[in-house]
Symmetry: C2
Subunit: 238 residues, 2 copies
Amino acid sequence: MRASDRAYVALRDEIVTWQLAPGTVLAEVEQSTRLGVSRTPLREALSRLVADGLVATQAGRGLVVTEVSVDGITELFEVRQALEQQAARLAAARRDPQIFAALRDEFARVPELLPADDAARHDYFDLVRRLDEATDEATQSPYLVQAISNVRTHLVRIRRLATDKPQRLLAAAREHAAIVDAVLAGDPELAASATHLHLHNSLASVRANAQRALAQAGESGMVLPPVTRSIPVLVGIP
Amino acid sequence: MRASDRAYVALRDEIVTWQLAPGTVLAEVEQSTRLGVSRTPLREALSRLVADGLVATQAGRGLVVTEVSVDGITELFEVRQALEQQAARLAAARRDPQIFAALRDEFARVPELLPADDAARHDYFDLVRRLDEATDEATQSPYLVQAISNVRTHLVRIRRLATDKPQRLLAAAREHAAIVDAVLAGDPELAASATHLHLHNSLASVRANAQRALAQAGESGMVLPPVTRSIPVLVGIP
DNA sequence: TTCTCGGTTTGTGTATACATTTAAGGACCA
DNA sequence: TGGTCCTTAAATGTATACACAAACCGAGAA
């Protein structure tokens, strides 16, 4: 594996897990010595993070980790709505019925499993991840998948601001099931509407918690819930 | 201006104007000597082009200019539809009426001017550019603007495959006027529908010409229409 | 006490040298 | 004659040195 890739993955993971808090200055020499790579590959990693929008140049202070705000989250979801509704439409028109039939069966079993332990929640998040993958695959649209993946990078960081109340998890599971049903039925507009509804509720849930979480983080130096097995790194927001 | 920026702008311009044809291999030493910068800033420029999707790593051959195909154009428009419809919705909800009233008046005068000379067409394309800018501004959504700008980079390159038949230009002007009217009226769904219609027709027009243009280019070594004053670098596709 | 000027220091931008990987060509063996 | 392996060369990946710019700090003067 290339040094620049290692540096990129390391920094991105630290940013999305809030180990590198928003506002942190990323000086080249400091980070290159810390990560054990020279400045050249580190600069490549940083430029990729800038392209991702996780890092930005701040006049005078160099490169800093970008801020997270409730308004920013709302704006992000405006893009997410557009892209994921389109993905749902295309997936409904082009999906492999077998794959989505299998996913439908799995989602049907979620409600009985979900209130259970941490492992069950982990399985659920993994199921959501596989739904995302299957949808991406079904769209057969590399440009769209690329655009969605740009958005997902930010969602991973925001993910930590959402709480997983059992009530919301169950509702999210029902919403996901509705999306799968519509895609499986081959109904593009129904799939888009189901996605619209899900993301609307998801945003409402996040907004309700993010306001408080960000305020707490601001005063207490970014104390955030530890990473548990139930929160994989790459997953949507319930 | 930094050397890496100069290299990036130079390469991007050469790619979108087809001076660097799809499939061209971009070797580091070759390009760095040609552009008069050293390998370090050139590599940064290349990595930005890879992030843009104008250049891709091809196994064994290094970095090559990405291909353009009718299917690829169609996929690009699937993303463009999603993003620009959303932009139209948000702009309709948040626009400054004065700005769009002025644009409406300008678009109203286009039909009488358009069949005229090259300068008139240039004015029209500039008007479209200003509409794009006003819409971006009105959305108040940096994430959305960023995502759209990624798509526009590719549109600039595709632009050269579209012909500007007077009939299509006039139709496009009417479609743009409909979008402006809907945004000015503050009707988000009408604005989205007008955008949907415009992009549908735009894609149909491009597809009709791109098939032939790409076939010609393939056999004759990429002979493309010269850049005239009527085709600014950054503009939508009629 | 405050403002300004100059030195110092830190950091980024660029160039270049070195290391490593990979692909192509030829030779040798089956 | 075909295939495989080895050699070689070229290109990319990495490290480091140097140059330049700007921000900070201290001292002196108003």
